[in-house]
């Protein structure tokens, strides 16, 4: 690129020389990386000072546990982190959506431990994000020095400070967004390097626990691609050497390659996570939204150490520069993206909700918190600001005044970086922290545990059975917290079981049996468990092995098809990516025809590995939850039980409440009076997805509300069988006990629990009393206290 003085239409001044020197320095990768390292260090300084301590925030507990469990598998047991026995009685490590260890940054954890490693990872990712923003903005025409100045607007924005406060280290995967978008831009233009960059960034996000990052970035990528295709169409009218159809075709076909390569590279996580979520999808309700005033506060509000304050801060100093940049034609795309993502971020707070539409499309059905779309506003704002300064730079060729204006903008952005770095320190200082958990190296045991302090357990060779994640975890109700040994026989007289070796992925047991028996392991069953002898079975979700009489050296190994096949696919995809980069040294541009076909075959090869793994490795399918009521009775019957009251109330979509029954279990020493509500539904047609059942108990001056999406805790309404009676028995509802006897009316109805939360309309009341689209299903009389 020619230096500024060569383009000047006037005599160079001292300002020109200073500016040229600054721009030259910004273009030097060493100087730039040094600067970005300093900026990241400033933002992360407070967090680094307490890196070895444990953030007590609840999410920090399980995120730390996931990473520590993976570290222990590799560093202590010299195994791949396939099975995490430390949480919930055992879960698939690679199938845990928000675990972040399938990422290059896991090396940092291995080197420095899970606690210190988390903060160092955040620091490294910040540097990565700064450089990515620089490159993306420059690729959009933002110029070298402006791109350098605006990089902190995105990479230090409030989301990352907030992620430090609440220990969402996996949210630093958003630092990869500009890399992914840059890769997509280059790839659609036919670049091999762009192909690997785009696909690699997306795969990294997925491996880093980017449960929000990846699907949100997919939308941004779709926008970027659509805009680029539109640009190709417009350019086609002006450029005659290459036909418009050719360029459009190349862009579309490159998009296919990018998707194929991204799938292959991320298969090690995609397949196991898909398996987890297919078994128990995340069921989310609510109508989250962000009002315009909150959008403003998130982006430009005052710095604060509190939750919901400046959570997406980009800083006020950047605003005038963004306004300046809006006057450029090149700003149309980022401006439209800002408008689009603000619209998304407003969720249900806007009448025509784009987010509501998105929530009907898998996997977006599993996302909440629409305000997280604001991170893309930060990137759009950074881009427009750079374009604004670039405009001043160009105008500065004619007059120094514009160059001075550009310098003022750089000064404002430097001030903005200080504001953002300070926010990082403020949020880090606000964390409540515990000392480093003690390390206790001893035999592994399950304990009742506590998810609010879950991080302690893997350090202490214990697994916490009580746990939390955003979805229904496949967890056996038979798990025990007080066993003398973790592997046992229920039939004690059948023989003995002795543990000879324990590791997360492999258990070696000495079993002596005088008759055939079942060996129980105090961990969850998963289809990936295999044994060298006997048959692995799920006993109410508990891992167990049926063995014949005799002495057995039983080895149980966790070797799931999804993880093994996924790893093989990802390894092959890495080789393919390496080959593509090597080819790029000769020619970066992929041409249509044989070149594209060869590359397509290569990028599709990892998917072939998936298909082969699927056919070669056999494992049982996870059985669906049994269609039983909580008390173990059949859920699907021909007619309602005899003790129910016929109602025959009817809703839209062929939903009929045939009968209902309300039961009361008296209080005892451990609990208060418990009400159970049985609703006997019949579905005459397939109901729309997203429905739930609400139950309301009312008496004068008091109200108890509860709701559920899974009928009898087992099946969603849209999957319930048609034309039969479906017994939907609620969980026990604890009733308040007062001085006097109280009678409560019990109402029930259907609502769009995972959509707009409105009630389904009752179209025929049958024998029931109906009010406000809910049916009176019975009453319950609670005795006074002491009875």
């Amino acid at each position: 690129m020619p230096s500024a003085p060569e383009l000047l239409t006037r005599t160079p001044t001292r300002t020109d020389r200073v500016y040229t020197a600054m721009r030259h320095a910004a273009g030097n990768p060493f100087i730039r990386s040094g600067w970005f390292s300093l900026v990241a260090l400033a933002a992360m300084w407070s967090a680094l000072g307490t890196a070895n301590l444990l953030n007590i925030y609840q999410d920090a507990q399980h995120f730390t546990l996931f990473e520590e469990a993976a570290r222990l598998s590799v560093a202590k047991f010299h195994q791949l982190p396939l099975w995490d026995p430390y949480y919930c009685g055992g879960i698939a490590g690679l199938g845990t959506p928000s675990a972040r260890f399938a990422s290059p940054t896991f090396l940092i954890t291995l080197l420095f431990g899970s606690l210190r490693g988390a903060t160092l990872t955040s620091f490294v990712m910040t540097v990565v994000g700064l450089e990515g923003t620089f490159r993306y903005v420059r690729a959009r025409g933002g110029g070298t020095l402006p791109a350098l100045s605006v990089a902190p607007v995105f990479a230090l924005s409030g989301l990352f400070a907030h992620a430090t406060l609440v220990a969402w280290t996996n949210f630093f995967s958003f630092e990869l967004v500009p890399w992914a978008l840059l890769g997509i831009r280059l790839a659609l233009g036919g670049s091999r390097r762009g192909l690997v960059l785009g696909a690699g960034s997306i795969a990294w996000m997925i491996g880093f626990g980017g449960t929000y990052t990846a699907p949100l970035t997919a939308l941004a990528a779709a926008f970027e691609a659509a805009w680029m295709l539109g640009s190709q169409l417009r350019r086609g009218k002006r450029v005659s050497s290459v036909s418009r159809g050719h360029r459009l075709g190349l862009a579309a076909l490159m998009g296919v390659l990018l998707v194929l390569l991204a799938l292959g590279l991320s298969m090690v996580r995609l397949w196991p996570v898909a398996e987890t979520l297919a078994a128990s999808p995340r069921l989310l309700g609510g109508k989250p939204g962000t009002s315009p005033i909150w959008v403003w506060r998130f982006l430009f509000g005052e710095r604060s150490n509190q939750w919901m304050k400046a959570d997406f801060l980009i800083g006020l100093p950047v605003l005038p520069i963004v306004i300046l940049g809006l006057w450029r034609k090149r700003s149309i795309a980022p401006a439209v993206s800002i408008a689009l993502f603000v619209w998304f971020s407003m969720g249900y707070d806007v009448r025509a909700s784009l987010f509501a539409v998105l929530r009907t499309v898998p996997p977006y059905t599993m996302l909440r918190a629409p305000e997280r779309f604001l991170i893309f506003v930060a990137l759009g704002a950074a881009t427009i600001a750079a374009l604004g300064i670039r405009r001043l730079e160009i105008a500065g060729r004619k007059s120094t005044r514009f160059l001075v204006g550009a310098l003022v903008c750089h000064g404002l952005l430097l001030g903005d970086a200080v504001v953002l770095a300070r926010l990082g320190q403020i949020k880090a200082d606000a964390r409540k922290i515990d000392p480093t958990p003690p390390i206790v190296d001893r035999d592994f045991r399950q304990t009742r545990g506590n998810r609010w302090i879950a991080a302690y357990y893997p350090f202490m060779s214990r697994g916490t059975l009580t746990c939390f994640d955003d979805y229904d975890i496949a967890q056996s109700p038979q798990l025990r917290a007080d066993l003398p040994q973790e592997e046992y026989l229920k039939d004690m007289e059948a023989g003995t079981v002795w543990r000879s070796h324990w590791s997360p992925n492999q258990l070696d047991l000495e079993v002596k049996l005088t008759r055939p028996a079942r060996v129980y392991i105090n961990q969850n069953w998963h289809p990936g468990w295999r044994s060298n002898v006997g048959a692995v079975v799920s006993d109410d979700g508990l891992l167990a092995v049926d063995l014949p009489e005799g002495t057995h050296a039983l080895t149980l190994r966790f070797w799931p098809r999804s993880a093994v096949g996924g790893m093989a696919a990802t390894l092959l995809a890495l080789v393919v990516a390496g080959f593509i980069v090597w080819r790029a040294r000769q020619s970066d541009e992929i041409t249509l025809g044989r070149d594209w076909l060869v590359t397509a075959a290569l990028t599709a090869a990892p998917l072939l590995v998936v298909a082969i793994s699927f056919s070669v490795m056999h494992e049982p399918t996870r059985p669906p939850p049994p269609l039983l009521t909580p008390s173990g009775e059949p859920m699907i019957v021909d007619a309602p039980p005899e003790d129910t009251t016929p109602l025959a109330a009817r809703w839209d979509n062929g939903i009929v409440l045939e009968a209902a029954h309300v039961d009361l279990e008296p209080a005892d020493e451990t609990h208060g009076p418990l009400t159970t509500v049985e609703l006997d539904w019949r579905f005459e047609e397939k109901v729309p997805p997203g429905l739930g059942v609400f139950i309301q108990l009312e008496r004068t001056g008091a109200h108890i509300g509860t709701d559920h999406v899974l009928l009898s805790g087992a099946v969603v309404p849209e999957a319930a069988p048609l034309h039969v009676t479906v017994r939907d028995v609620s969980a026990a509802i604890t009733m308040p006990q007062e001085k006097d006897e109280k009678t409560w009316k019990v109402y029930a109805g259907f609502w769009r629990a995972r959509r707009d939360m409105t009630r389904m309309k009752v179209i025929s009341r049958g024998n029931a009393t109906v009010s406000a689209d809910r049916v009176l299903v019975g009453t319950v009389t609670v005795p006074p206290q002491g009875q």
């Binding site: 609510g286 206790v440 302690y456 108890i704 509860t706 969980a731």
Partner: protein, 132 residues
């Protein structure tokens, strides 16, 4: 220009190395991670009894907070339990790790408890609420 580039490369590299060193030094632990601090058996047993007694009341409060969701009741109790452990450790100057360990050992080794006081060891499978 080539000379300037090499100077800039040298300067930039030096900054990167210096920053990396600063990050590593600043994040280093003040002391090596230790094992469980030995505390008197009586102190841990007293804690175990106090925690078990607190559990009864805490569970009743949690029942009232989430009347229709047994898992949420259990989860709310565990939140209270975590706060209790932290507060107990602070007031008795006992480390968290030792108290977490005491709860496990007390349960496994059946440490004595007052009549009518018994921790609920039943573990409910994770069933998060629709909205939280």
């Amino acid at each position: 220009m080539a000379n300037l580039d090499s100077i800039q490369a040298y300067a930039g590299s030096s900054v990167i190395v210096a920053v990396a060193c600063a990050a590593l030094v600043h994040s280093r632990p003040s002391s090596a991670p230790g094992g469980l601090r030995t505390i008197a058996g009586m102190a841990t047993q007293e804690f175990y009894v106090a925690a078990a007694e607190a559990e009864v009341q805490a569970r009743k409060k949690s029942e009232g907070r989430f009347r229709g969701s047994p898992w949420s009741q259990d989860d709310d109790f565990h939140n209270k339990e975590a706060k209790f452990i932290r507060a107990y450790g602070k007031s008795h100057k006992l480390p968290m790790g030792s108290l977490v360990d005491a709860l496990d050992r007390g349960t496994r080794e059946h440490w004595p408890l007052p009549a009518g006081v018994a921790p609920d060891l039943k573990v409910l499978p994770c069933r998060p609420r629709l909205n939280y």
